[in-house]
Amino acid sequence: MKPLIRIVLLAAAAVLANPTLAAEEPAKILRIGLTPTVPYDQYQLIEQWRLYMERKLNRRVEFIRRDSYIETMDMLRRRKLDYAWICDYPFVYFRSQVRLLAVPLYQGRPYYRSYLIVPATNRSTTSIAQLRGVVFAYTDPYSNTGYLVARHQLHQMGENPAQFFRQTFFTWSHRKAVEAVATGMADGSAVSGHVWDTLTIVKPELTAATRIVSKSSEFGFPPLVANPTVPNEEFRNVQKALLGMASDSKGKALLKGLNIDGFIAGSPHLYDNVARMMKAVGEK
């Protein structure tokens, strides 16, 4: 008898403790786009983050995953998404069409690098210049560290990126680019340093099959952006929720899973060097 009473009381308490959630009419769902710039295939982690955000914002949250950056940007522009975590290159590319929401902190700073990697069996390569005529895996044509950086380096060397490699292909994810190099599909690739570092923790046998040839200079970390049509109040609420993650234990655990330290409001100037690189390569 006693346990039954306890269960009934607990259920009643749960309903009473959350009166707003129960009473509020169905609010608009908050749609956040995710790209492979984050380890979005850690489904359990992303689900927990979603629940965390729902609790913090007191409304329903939906994560929408797309493989290509351009598709995510399209959805953002067509107002199918309210927010998105995109790469720094599309952010710069479409700067006028989005609003910077938050910048993650990685190793305490809002920056990351691009790693040039080759198979671990390749002990001789020390620079991208030695990769002439090989098969090279790009991540995404709108990736900074997985595409723009490598092409910029070749451009600096006076090479034509379109002809330098024997063959190139897109893997549509940093993680898959690492896999392509690890399995021998590609002889080299450029990937996000953040993803590579995260993979050394979650899948060390994969990164062990690759070797880092060089690390690029720092770029602003892939930011979270908002659709310009999002109301200011909502924008501030979401920004507050993100920035506050580092100050509660649940949020800290999620940040640890995402392998970042927290979020800051950030400034578009963080991405100025990406814009310069873009101009140099002549993409815009």
């Binding site: 098969v135 895996a137 063959q167 897109f170 898959k176 392509a180 399995t183 021998g184 599909m185 590609a186």
Partner: protein, 483 residues
């Protein structure tokens, strides 16, 4: 070859049977294994062809958009080790473009992108030629003689637009372990079959061969003159072997009877010859003997003979009388004139023997159904009865009973005497009716001989048997109607 063919059936039947069973088992096993190998290969090829069709269809958009990584993920899916070990894994899956260059391969390290497939050896060069020459829209199985690989090639095409070819490469090495598995199972079953059939074959062979061998051995002995006897084991079935055994049994029986008959004839011949000889001699002695006795009698009657001479003559006379007794006993004269045998004669004989019987405390019990005279000379029948009963009394232990049965059946008179006591050994039995043969110290051994002679002359038969302490004599005499 000869020593093998000359072997005894005892070994030859199980040996040939065993060889046939082993050969049959091996042949069936080999056929089944060949079948299993073919089935295995055909299953593999069918499933591989299906896989190639599916993969080729799935690969089409990736190849069209040159999505190498997507294509790689597609061809890697069926190679996932987590799909269970029961399926035979391809060695390599490779997609080729229309110039037979690698679009994507499951082993990019050894078969890298955009490499010409012809550079990986002569076999791949032939394969490339075959693929280039083919235009059929369905999957094909390509096998080169002497190759350790089998190729399944499916065109990557949609609505007539062909982008390339998907090739699944199977190593024959991979289905060898599986075939070995099937083969070892087959071998175990084969051994089990042999383990059952070989003992059955051995048993059956022995069943057939042993009676044959024994029969052959027995017939061989008969041919060498050894008295025939039946084989120690019998064969109970009505097949040819059974008929042979039965025929042999009949043959042995006939031979034994013939042998007995011959022995009997020889004995009768001998006894008859001895009888004729002794009767002749007795006759020749008896004639002068009578004269001599008459002369001695006349001589005694003459006066003037001194004491000493008379004593000598008396001695000679007694000696001659003894000779006359003996000779008289040997002179069996069946043709003597005599009256017919009547029931009263039996009582007379009983009376005559009562003294001897009393002396030995032996009882004589006579059971006779004779009620009227029989057409047989009374003197001779009385002598037969006397001799047999006297013998029986003398052979009996004290206080024993001698049984005598006399029967008249139709025209035959049978006399049977039985006494208990010592069993006569076979060597005595075989010479029983010969003269001067006696187991009895007292007799001169002529009693049974005389009896035999009388019975023979009367046209009858006499037999004797002695076993387990019981001795029986049987006499049968032909007795016509009263003369």
């Amino acid at each position: 070859m000869n020593p093998l063919l000359n072997l005894s059936f005892r070994y030859k039947v199980p040996l040939w049977g065993g060889v046939l069973i082993v050969v049959a088992t091996l042949a069936v096993s080999a056929a089944l294994m060949k079948q299993a190998y073919d089935d295995l290969k055909s299953d593999l090829m069918n499933s591989s062809a299906n896989l190639s069709r599916t993969l080729a269809k799935t690969l089409f958009p990736s190849m069209m958009h040159e999505e190498v990584w997507r294509a790689y993920e597609i061809i890697l899916a069926p190679l996932d080790a987590g799909q269970g070990g029961s399926r035979i894994q391809p060695e390599l899956i490779v997609a080729l473009d229309n110039r037979q260059r690698v679009f994507v391969s499951s082993q990019p390290k050894s078969v890298p992108l955009s490499a010409d497939i012809r550079q990986f050896g002569e076999e791949y060069a032939h394969l490339a030629d075959r693929i280039a020459a083919r235009s059929e829209p369905d999957a094909a199985i390509i096998e080169f003689s002497g190759s350790r690989r089998i190729y399944v090639a499916a065109p990557v095409a949609e609505e007539g637009a062909r982008l390339g070819t998907l090739v699944i490469v199977h190593s024959k090495d991979v289905f060898l372990p599986r075939f070995k598995n099937v083969a070892s199972r087959g071998a175990v079953i084969g051994l089990l079959v042999l383990a059952v059939l070989l003992p059955i074959n051995w048993y059956w062979g022995q069943r057939t061969a042993v009676p044959l061998v024994q029969l052959a051995c027995s017939i061989g002995k008969v041919a060498q003159g050894v008295p025939p006897e039946l084989p120690p084991c019998t064969y109970a079935y009505r097949d040819e072997l059974g008929q042979l055994c039965e025929a042999y049994g009949l043959l042995v029986k006939a031979l034994q009877e013939k042998g007995l008959l011959e022995q009997e004839m020889i004995r009768s011949e001998r006894l008859a010859a001895v009888g004729r000889l002794s009767a002749g001699i007795a006759h020749e002695i008896n004639n002068p003997l009578g004269g001599m006795l008459v002369a001695l009698n006349n001589f005694k009657r003459r006066a003037g003979n001194d004491e000493r001479t008379l004593k000598t003559v008396g001695m000679i006379e007694r000696g001659l009388a003894q000779i006359q007794d003996t000779v008289g006993a040997m002179m069996v004269e069946a043709k003597v004139k005599s009256r017919d045998f009547v029931p009263h004669d039996v009582e007379d004989v009983q009376m005559l023997l009562s003294g001897e019987a009393h002396k030995r405390s032996v009882a004589i019990r006579v059971d006779s159904d004779i009620t009227k005279p029989a057409a047989l000379p009374a003197t001779l029948v009385r002598q037969i009865l006397m001799n047999l009963l006297l013998n029986a009394v003398q052979a009996s232990e004290p206080s024993a009973t001698v049984q005598c049965t006399i029967r008249r059946t139709g025209n035959t008179l049978t006399i049977e005497t039985e006494n208990t006591g010592r069993t006569m050994p076979p060597e005595v039995m075989s010479h029983l009716f010969e003269p001067f043969v006696s187991s009895n110290e007292a007799g001169h051994g002529l009693g049974l001989w005389v009896t035999y002679q009388i019975v023979s002359q009367l046209g009858g038969q006499i037999t004797a048997e002695s076993r387990d302490g019981l001795t029986r004599f049987s006499v049968s005499l032909p007795a016509g109607e009263n003369s």
